[in-house]
């Protein structure tokens, strides 16, 4: 068999089930583009490489399967870095294939040359600079295996232009490699977990992205019901357990409901599943769940003991762990604890003022949810709107929420929504964004218009970098600086200019009706929602403070603390 490096890549992508590849062509990846044109892969032309990276992320986050994106050398690769770093922090399986200058020119500061390999070392699970086209027969399947195995993450494959053109002979096409088998819990670990659970009077279950990627939500519910424990989630765990489940407390941490943080504070056992004790979730780590034993289950052993020293550390896939545990665990009703958690929830709920008003933050989120008969895929950008969505949206299925958690990348939303719409053409995709975030990748409106994807953008427009303004108000003596946008673009006109349907809820006599019409329109639709400009996301744990010190929480004395 004979093929060029570029043809090998295109064919192996097909063999790995890749149907869409977002990206942007340039001098150093043109051989690849030529080969992909002759393949069954459909290329999605992004308008900025970061957009292309996030379109791929949108596909990967929605399906759980590894997605691919392309960029050329130099600025193409540097533009892609943010999307790769974002995938690393949120454990998203992504294979980024970049063009590189020809081998002979590497290291000469050639036109559009940058050390992509060096730049991506700290933001990838693994990366390659391919030096011979024959290596691609191993590297491409390996890249998919690494991206999708264990704790998923991004892999970069940097391919010099002459390697793309190099023709090699080989015997047969390699098959996709099996993903690594996730580590299983030992019988002893299960026995110890059972023991800790049976001793506990006030257990709490914490879930994170690992529960989503292991698709273990049902097992978590079974565990919660079996041991009579409430469930709290990190930002990235939302959706794994439906918000409507009676034991689901919603998001924990910096912007969690006061009751959620109090309940965790009172726990005598924390069962942490596929979550990594991120500071936004735990507040000051040393004062997080101070009286609790900790069972920490994660398939990345680097996470075990990184922030909190667990009583029992289990290196395992969450689903495997729960499957085993549930086979052995006897029911343990805990009526007193249930009563106590119900009491805290009734006394210290999340307050959601303005729920009826579509032009108020909570109203905007809840009315949108209300108006859609079928649960949409929900995408957010980063900032206040993101937290309002995380707090208020009634999530009902895993992978429903796509949000940049670890890196917190403004500009994530629009391209990720496009990717989600490509991966789930059966669903409506709703992007809640802010006027700061949307501008950071607004060029992808052109991509969305070209594709006609079913993306609804709900722009919570307060003419501010709202979360920055909030921090300046709360922690910098209200000395506002660089958080107000003095110039306010006409977003409706911009959206129309990109060929979108667009409307402005601020000019509606009946905003809910206008929102309903917008959501029912086919294709990309933009809704500008002018929200009050100085509303804060509450409650808020000041950065570095313990979770029970919430601004806009309620004064409270914990029992058992």
């Amino acid at each position: 068999m004979k093929a060029s490096g570029a043809q090998i890549i295109a064919h192996l992508l097909e063999r790995h089930g890749i149907t869409y590849v977002p990206g942007i062509p340039g001098g150093a990846n043109l051989p690849l583009y030529d080969a992909v044109k002759a393949s069954k892969i459909r290329h999605i032309l992004a308008r900025h490489e970061q957009g292309g990276g996030f379109i791929a992320q949108g596909m990967a986050r929605t399906t759980g399967r590894t997605a691919v994106c392309f960029a050329t050398s130099g600025p193409g690769a540097t533009n892609l870095l943010t999307a790769i770093a974002d995938a690393k922090l949120d454990s998203i399986p992504l294979v980024a294939i970049t063009g590189q200058v020809p081998r002979a020119m590497i290291g000469t500061d050639a036109f559009q040359e940058i050390d992509t390999y060096g730049l991506t070392i700290p933001i990838t699970k693994h990366n390659y600079l391919v030096r011979d086209a024959a290596e691609l027969l191993e590297v491409i399947p390996e890249a998919f295996r690494i991206a999708g195995s264990g704790r998923p993450g991004p892999v970069v494959v940097d391919v010099p232009k002459d390697v793309q053109n190099q023709v090699v002979e080989f015997d047969k096409w390699p098959d996709p490699l099996p993903l690594a088998t996730p580590p299983r819990p030992s019988a002893e670990e299960i026995r110890r977990a059972e023991e800790l659970i049976s001793k506990a009077q006030r257990p709490v279950i914490l879930i994170g992205a690992g529960v989503v990627s292991a698709d273990a939500g049902d097992f978590v519910i079974q565990l919660a019901e079996r041991i009579d424990a409430p469930i709290a989630s990190t930002l990235l765990g939302l959706g794994a357990v439906p918000s409507s489940h009676p034991r689901m407390l919603g998001m924990m941490g910096m912007h969690g409901a006061p009751s959620t943080n109090y309940i965790i504070h009172e726990a005598d056992l924390v069962i942490a599943l596929g979550m990594r004790f991120d500071d936004r979730a735990t507040g000051k780590a040393s004062e997080f769940c101070p009286n609790a034993a900790i069972i920490h289950v994660d398939l990345d052993r680097c996470e075990l003991g990184k922030i909190k020293r667990p009583t029992l550390a289990v290196e395992a896939d969450v689903k495997e762990f729960l499957g085993e545990l549930l086979q052995h665990l006897s029911p343990g009703p805990r009526p007193e604890w249930r009563e106590r958690t119900d009491e805290l929830r009734a006394e210290f709920p999340l307050l959601m003022p303005g729920s009826d008003d579509a032009c108020q933050p909570y109203g905007c989120v809840l009315q949108t949810a209300n108006l859609l008969d079928e649960a949409p895929v929900v995408v957010t950008d980063v900032g206040q709107h993101q937290m309002w969505v995380a707090q208020a949206f009634p999530f009902s299925f895993p992978r429903q929420l796509l949000t940049s958690g670890g890196l917190g990348t403004m500009g994530f939303g629009l391209p990720a929504a496009i990717g989600a719409a490509l991966a789930r053409p059966d669903k409506t995709v709703v992007l809640f964004s802010g006027d700061g975030s949307l501008l950071m990748n607004i060029q992808e409106m052109a991509t969305a218009a070209e594709l006609g994807v079913n993306v609804k953008v709900i722009l919570m427009n307060n003419a501010h970098l709202g979360l920055v303004r909030q921090q300046q108000e709360l922690f910098y003596g209200a000395r506002f600086h660089a958080s107000r946008f003095e110039f306010e673009p006409d977003f409706v006109a911009i959206a129309r200019g990109f060929g979108w349907n667009a409307c402005n809820l601020g000019q509606a006599t009946d905003p809910v009706e206008m929102l309903a019409t917008a959501l029912s329109q086919p294709g990309p639709t933009f809704v500008n929602v002018p929200i009050p400009r100085t509303v804060n996301v509450l409650p808020m744990v000041p950065p570095g403070a313990p979770n029970i010190e919430m601004i806009g929480g309620h004064s409270h004395v914990c029992q058992n603390a």
Partner: protein, 110 residues
Amino acid sequence: MSAKTHEPITPNDQIIRDERRPVLRLVVRNHPGVMSHICGLFARRAFNVEAILCLPIEDGQRSVILLLVDEDERLEQMVRQIEKLEDVLEVTREEDGHEPFEAMARYLAS
């Protein structure tokens, strides 16, 4: 071997002979970039590597790297991070691992 061309220099014996400092022994795939993966892990955690020795082994497909590092409570986390690297095949903590560094020190001092 021809005569050495360098001037003798004075290695820091205090660090090199400090028995409390652990030595890590890594077996890695031998190709460009592996060293930056490993050093990058230490660098971005502000964790100093005091000394490095690296030699290709067997048919040259693999190398052994010896790292003289600081005793630090983060070391266990570092070792786990190193183990996660695709190109690292093995990590062990060497007991009495200072000898090669002392040999290197003698070479430089002579």
